[in-house]
Symmetry: C2
Subunit: 229 residues, 2 copies
DNA sequence: GAATATACGGAACGCTCGCCCCGGTTGTCC
DNA sequence: GGACAACCGGGGCGAGCGTTCCGTATATTC
């Protein structure tokens, strides 16, 4: 459905067959890229549940070829997810840079959360990975996740220092909350505007003062405190 | 692991084989009960993913027997879930009665949320059903869910009237938030105290005033605004 | 206690899906 | 352009699981 706007993940350096052999043959390199691209699409659209043959078919390749490049289905999945995580980490770093550049830490933090949730919302694989739906992460993916966690942690610290986020939560909490928001958005197909639930859930992280400020902004202009958000 | 304290679902009237035949044979009735009990345990412990043979084995029964009583695995699953939902609905009604008896609507509402999340946390099947993990609910389950939704809606209305819950959320939002909280609790195995994340996420539903009051209560006594909750 | 409908158990079936293998093809190097 | 190795495709194997079938056992009825 959606998803197609992925640039090929930064073009690996002439691609050696993992471990240190000689450079890959031209067609092998091309096929590997095709598989990766197809996996990106299909995993994003269907999540981990999609059969591997489907990916092979979409890549115009035999199943055997997929297995020559990725030892197992999970390995392929993780390669895709790791890419996604790295992309998100980059975005996070930008947000962080924005703060040192003078941006509001609270807005940076919550904006970033929104980005992550939105991204995971349109990439079922990411959602699966975040919610932990029967997925055991391995080395490389874990590394990518750890890095993202690091950036998230820095953003969190900044936002807490600015009293925009309550002080009694840690990175793990935030991570769980993100997973929760993703899950929530997932249960509610299309009727509501996207991001709404994520915002509600994320509001639980705010300090009371921040929440009050926000509510005031929301209320000024109409009589009650309905609508808006 | 847990789960065993379920009373047999109110003892169906001498159990007729759905549709209006003659009463079930004694052993049939007994086996049906066994299957249901085993399904309760196993689904609670493992979720929908558990193979049906396992349930049959635990019930001391052949697979064929299970299918004579429940046309499909999903039907059995739904029977179990519907029971759970009804139990939760009952608890909700009690909370509602408590309000008319003078209890604080906000506390009643959030207390009920905590109960639901805790229950779903220890019953993987409920969690699966709430999060919607590849489950298509059918008639009876839907009815039970609708009823629960009704009670939840009344509690919500009361809590909103008492200004404990922000006015711009509806039942569907609350339902989604519950699902989210369940998902969150699930991702984080055991390290933190249970219910913590659920509370954080639920806080997003509070009005600013209520949140402020809570934060004040949390802060009075120590210097910052850390710890507590 | 015999007759009969009813229910039981578990082997068997069909299907899906991850993964491997082998005969053929294609890129690469001299 | 020929020889050799690397790679490709897709059929096939085996495991897991939901569901069905049928010969046997058992409750019920008279």
């Amino acid at each position: 459905m959606t998803a197609m706007s992925e640039q090929p993940p930064a073009e690996q350096p002439p691609a050696r067959s993992a471990g240190g052999g000689r450079p890959l043959r031209a067609d092998a390199r091309r096929n590997r890229a095709r598989v990766l691209a197809a996996a990106n699409e299909v995993f994003a659209a269907e999540g981990l549940a999609v059969p591997l043959d489907e990916i092979a078919r979409r890549a115009g390749v035999g199943a055997g070829t997929v297995y020559r490049h990725f030892p197992t289905k999970e390995a392929l999945f993780e390669a895709v997810v790791a890419d996604r995580l790295e992309a998100l980490t980059t975005v996070g770093r930008e947000a962080l840079a924005g703060i040192t550049g003078g941006a509001d830490p609270g807005e940076a933090f919550f904006g970033y959360l929104a980005v992550v949730v939105a991204d995971a919302g349109s990439k079922m694989d990411l959602a699966d990975a975040l919610v932990g739906a029967g997925v055991d992460l391995r080395q490389d993916t874990l590394a990518a996740a750890a890095e993202l966690r690091g950036v998230l942690g820095e953003l969190l610290t900044q936002a807490q220092a600015a009293a925009a986020v309550r002080a009694d939560v840690d990175v793990a909490d935030v991570h769980a909350v993100v997973g929760a928001a993703v899950a929530a958005e997932r249960t509610r197909p299309a009727d509501a505007q996207p991001g709404r639930l994520a915002r509600i859930i994320g509001d639980g992280l705010r300090t009371a003062q921040a929440a009050a400020g926000r509510a005031a902004a929301r209320t000024s202009g109409n009589g009650g405190e309905s609508a808006g958000n």
